[in-house]
Symmetry: C2
Amino acid sequence: MNDKQPPTLAEIAKMAGVSQMTASRALNNKPGVSREKREEILLIADEMGYVVNRAAQKLSGGRSRIIGMIAQLHTPFTSELVMGAGSAVRAAGYELLLYSLLGGDRRPPTDIVSLLQQFADGVIAVLPYEFDYLTTLASARIPVVTIDHQSEVPDYPSIIGDSYQGARVATRHLIDLGHRDIAFVTGNERLASARDRRRGFEDAMRQAGLPIRREYIAEGDYMQKAGFRAGSRLAAIKPRPTAIFAANDISALGVIAALREVGLRVPDDVSVIGFDDIPLASQIHPALTTIRQPMQQMGRSAVNTLLALIVGLEAPTSLITLPTELVIRDSTMPRRQEGTGGD
Amino acid sequence: MNDKQPPTLAEIAKMAGVSQMTASRALNNKPGVSREKREEILLIADEMGYVVNRAAQKLSGGRSRIIGMIAQLHTPFTSELVMGAGSAVRAAGYELLLYSLLGGDRRPPTDIVSLLQQFADGVIAVLPYEFDYLTTLASARIPVVTIDHQSEVPDYPSIIGDSYQGARVATRHLIDLGHRDIAFVTGNERLASARDRRRGFEDAMRQAGLPIRREYIAEGDYMQKAGFRAGSRLAAIKPRPTAIFAANDISALGVIAALREVGLRVPDDVSVIGFDDIPLASQIHPALTTIRQPMQQMGRSAVNTLLALIVGLEAPTSLITLPTELVIRDSTMPRRQEGTGGD
DNA sequence: GTGAAAGCGCTAACAT
DNA sequence: ATGTTAGCGCTTTCAC
């Protein structure tokens, strides 16, 4: 381990024969330095391998040029969010630091957010909790933007995919294929997106004049395990649904696995449609019909909204809704005419 | 946005009628404070919602109790690592902050690591690069532990799964099933794990007296896309391999998708075995036979090694190799006796 | 255009 | 057991 300490601003300044402030201004691209000096300072800093200490930068009241993000990272959905946010952040000369909620976390991550606030200029929150937890936050010293998490009275700007419309379109797709016995696997209904998808499903059914059977609404939570349980339950009901709309792709995978376990084929026996269009959706067999949500773009929008807030601009709107889109693949097909649904 | 600034140590100290240092000692569980005062200080801090500013803490030479981790987060493998590391870190009263390498990143993340070092007491690196990049690091002011990334001359302690043994066992499994025409899809060979798996494959083949055909070694990089390409290529070779060993599960998924696309069935026409045992492996169809790597435990080991280093202990060993294990599921089966492999 | 002083919130080191 | 001093690396004033 070579332990030569990294150079500090003071050292760079001394080498360049200027004051710390001048060096600081030069390195931060701020006015008030002659072109000559600026170039020399930059050169020296580069040669010395100078890297600004962002902790000190932030502590002294400046910008750290870091965006914090808090999310349950081990899902394809948040992975895509991170990729989108990451590229947007870099394009703006910032860096993204992440905090991952663990699976079982139920507690409000209050101190985590304040931790992030100590380092970052803004934070993006993707929380699988009721909104209350967020508003409980000790203080919002820096801007916060949420994804997939709008509240009725938005305290923070939010980016969401159009879950309601997407769910309607998904349901409509199934109906157009001739299905009438359609089941729904809910998401984590502490999240508005899950409630919206359910509403979308129900409204579409109603508008088609189709009944919404209580047993056909199976509880899920956006995770595969619950999707599997829901699928098992639904497979056992008589008459069995001929189509299932799962609130997201991950739970659709669970549903499909459960269906298979009892010998049902997808889509021949049961059509399945998901939501999100995670990368995996197109890779599995059968390729999943789903509603595409522009996840990477959601990450980017969150960053851009945050960046605007950091610079002091008001957020253009407090709720940005991005459109969703039906992607038809192989897991849905027209209802079979024989009395399949029955038994 | 309520903007009451969070209280500082100074305020807590004043409220408790003690000096800052006493408050600091009390809050950090350090000796030198009477039980009475300590309790009062803790109480006040709690009531005021005091949260230590870790940036300041670190800057002043203390511990921030943060572990940094840098990895390409959007893979199931690293997700598991993060979960393991996250739980270990919490158990020790630390927090984990992550930096995600983006897909296309080729450049050495030098300044990122130094960024992390400014905040954290130690960093875990999972780098999809040659080791050189890491050693290039400006300075190692704080301990660094790597996962899946040992070098020949380890500068940093490393945690790895036993890729060589695992690959031998995987290959042996295929051989025991009667396969002779066995193909191998490589991993990202800039990583030692990928090279080890290839060696394990080759040694097992050799020891069984089986030939290693050049065309049966298809280049991959641990990602699904490359797995798909490899699968397509292998499917077209005559005689076609009757079994394929993919260097990790993700590329095995790609292989399977490619096989399916040309009408081949898994495992009936071609057996496929992966490596890692990501959660998805058991969920897809057919459930994937694979070599289990204790990913969460690898994350935990990395944290514990790091923690020891932080406390000043020497790392017990500089290379911790965790055992791997064969998990037989449905994607492999005995070679069919009819002249299948041929055409 | 440049610099000096002060301080962000905290903790080591050295008092007492 | 407790307090005082100094300083981490930087940026904000406010000078010139």
